[in-house]
Amino acid sequence: MSDAPHAEAEAPDFKTRAGIALADRTLKIAIDRTTNTAETKRAAAVGAFPEFEAARERGRAIKDHVIANLGHYLETFERNATASGAKVHWAADDAEARAIVVRLCREAGARSVTRSKSMLGEEIGLPDALAEAGIERVETDLAEHIIQLAGEHPSHIIWPAMHRTREQVADLFREGHVPPPSAEDPGSMVRSARRVLREKFLGADVGISGANFLIADTGATCTVTNEGNAELTTTPPRVHIVTAGIEKLVPSTAHAFALLRLLVRSATGGEMTQYTTFHRGPKRPGDADGPEEMHIVLVDNGRSRMLGDEFRDMLRCIRCGACMNHCVVYRQIGGHAYGGTYPGPMGAVLTPVLDGLAKSRDLPFACTMNGRCAEVCPVRIPLPTLLRAWRGRSWRENLEPRAMRAGLGLWAWVARRPRLYRLASGLGVRALRLMGKGGWVGSVPLAGGWTAYRDLPRPSGKTFMEQYRGGRK
């Protein structure tokens, strides 16, 4: 059924989730439709911006500068935001962040809360926390609205509903919208969502948003959006709450613009989002509209720990999603199979930080090391290197499955004995050749995980060393 949450999101472990996702042909169609467009548009946007490489280098340097002086910028931002009339709150982890937001909503007597998309809100578990507190949560971003109707979590950081085809969205809207949309084209579905959400915007008590940048020297928060839902979320309610990670700081508005040029091109292939909004404190005397209170919740949740370890480069991430759009694994299994808030290559690096390596040990291994993610990352994060670092840690911390440890141990033992290694690999290659038909091997004992969805090329019948020696003679 179209409105059932995707099954792969529910399975307990990565291998099962990936298996379910790989078998889902509709999922593959949905992912292809969006990622193909995203890849083409990004390439065109970068092609039309000859200064892109220099801009990337500058962007990397800006983020590194902020990270190296994070304490200074946090203090500066806090001082300036407070001077603007906003109230700054600090949360060391997700539980503290949830508690602060729920308390602020209660203090505001909130019955209904509108939310504009924020991955940090997902990271800290805000949707469930609001539900538990009995507060109506209205997701206003179109994709978030779709997954709220479906009872799901985002499967992509830019397109949270990427896993749904337009036919599936039409089914959801037919059940969830009164009156239902008149047709199945995306245009009439978007108009239907506009109609349904309009009154919710104006009736909400609290509006919650995220931030793409925190501007230290003005104390403003900056958000980029396309739909216009963000301003309708943050303007009419009496209270506006921003939740943001502490790595979002930039020194000034001009620095934010430098990063914005990279972010938008890398995310959607546009040059600017339709709306680039700077919020600075609550409504001022005489203002025609705006919230009476503005609260900014700054969330650490593992970030300060990353400052001191080999994952520090990951703090540069501006959440553009390019790495997942260009990832061969993501494009096969989609975002839900990763099991964390953040999917794809950046998620495989971040999820072990957030959820612990023991729970997410499979993610750094779900990577072919083809390097495309690092090639497109606008702030040059060496994602494959960071994934390799997690693999190393997983080995050191003894988290490898027993069979893998034993298998690798055996391989290492044989590999240190050249004669034995040549004998074993020669036998292996011949056995594989016997198993294959035509140019391919369709199934290999103990390697079903590989061969269930793809074939191995059938080997020539000799090992490299045998051919090399043969060629020399």
Partner: protein, 212 residues
């Protein structure tokens, strides 16, 4: 220990000792050096032309008038062209309020399903075809978001070349509560990545460029 103290002590433990703020500011300024090396060149020969190229590519429509007093006429023309009644929600800016609106009825309350709103832009940005609005006693933010048609009056004299030039204009002033760079009509690519114009905000942005 409060969460704030815990976060600061964690951050401080990982970074080197406190540095001189002047030195940090110097490094931050150096990161903005040679802006032309890291930003796109303008699309046209003049600022107004560059702005028009970028804005129309996004679906914004543009009209040009010689002076402010020709604005009501241009608004009437736009409304008629769109088949709309001559009635608009009007920004409180004295430059617009003081005009003779003739046959166009104006009001300041904005209905949830307002057909058209007319506002004054603070700046235009030629690099990206963006217009900038600031919240204030005269300018409700919702004027740019509730109406289906957002008509924006922009003086060519307020046109800036690049995004950094806008940041520079804010320096030394008290920045507004809410500043928004608007780049084209609202839209979404949330269903299968295909672009649909007109989401929660306006489906139409019409810029009246005032040459004087």
């Amino acid at each position: 220990m409060s969460a704030r103290e815990r976060i600061f002590s964690a951050v401080r433990a990982e970074l080197s000792a406190a540095r001189d703020p002047a030195q940090i500011a110097g490094e931050a300024a150096a990161l903005l050096a040679e802006p032309d090396a890291v930003r796109p060149r303008l699309a046209g020969a003049t600022l107004a032309e560059s702005f028009a190229i970028k804005a129309t590519a996004l679906g914004t429509t543009i009209d040009r008038v010689p002076a402010l007093d020709a604005v009501p006429e241009a608004v009437a023309r736009y409304l008629a062209g769109q088949g709309l009644r001559p009635s608009v929600a009007l920004d409180g800016a004295p430059e617009l309020r003081g005009l003779d609106w003739g046959a166009v009825e104006t009001h300041s309350a904005i209905a949830p399903d307002e057909a058209a709103g007319v506002g004054l832009a603070r700046f235009g940005v030629a690099e990206s075809g963006s217009i900038v609005i600031h919240s204030g006693p005269e300018t409700p933010i919702l004027l740019a978001f509730l109406p289906l048609h957002h008509v924006v009056v922009l003086r060519v004299a307020d046109m800036l070349a690049h995004l950094e030039d806008y940041a520079a204009r804010l320096e030394g002033t008290e920045p507004p509560r809410n500043a928004i760079l608007i780049t084209g009509p609202s839209g979404t690519t949330d269903i299968e990545g295909s672009y649909v114009r007109g989401a929660h905000g306006p489906g139409f942005v019409h810029v009246i460029l005032v040459e004087e």
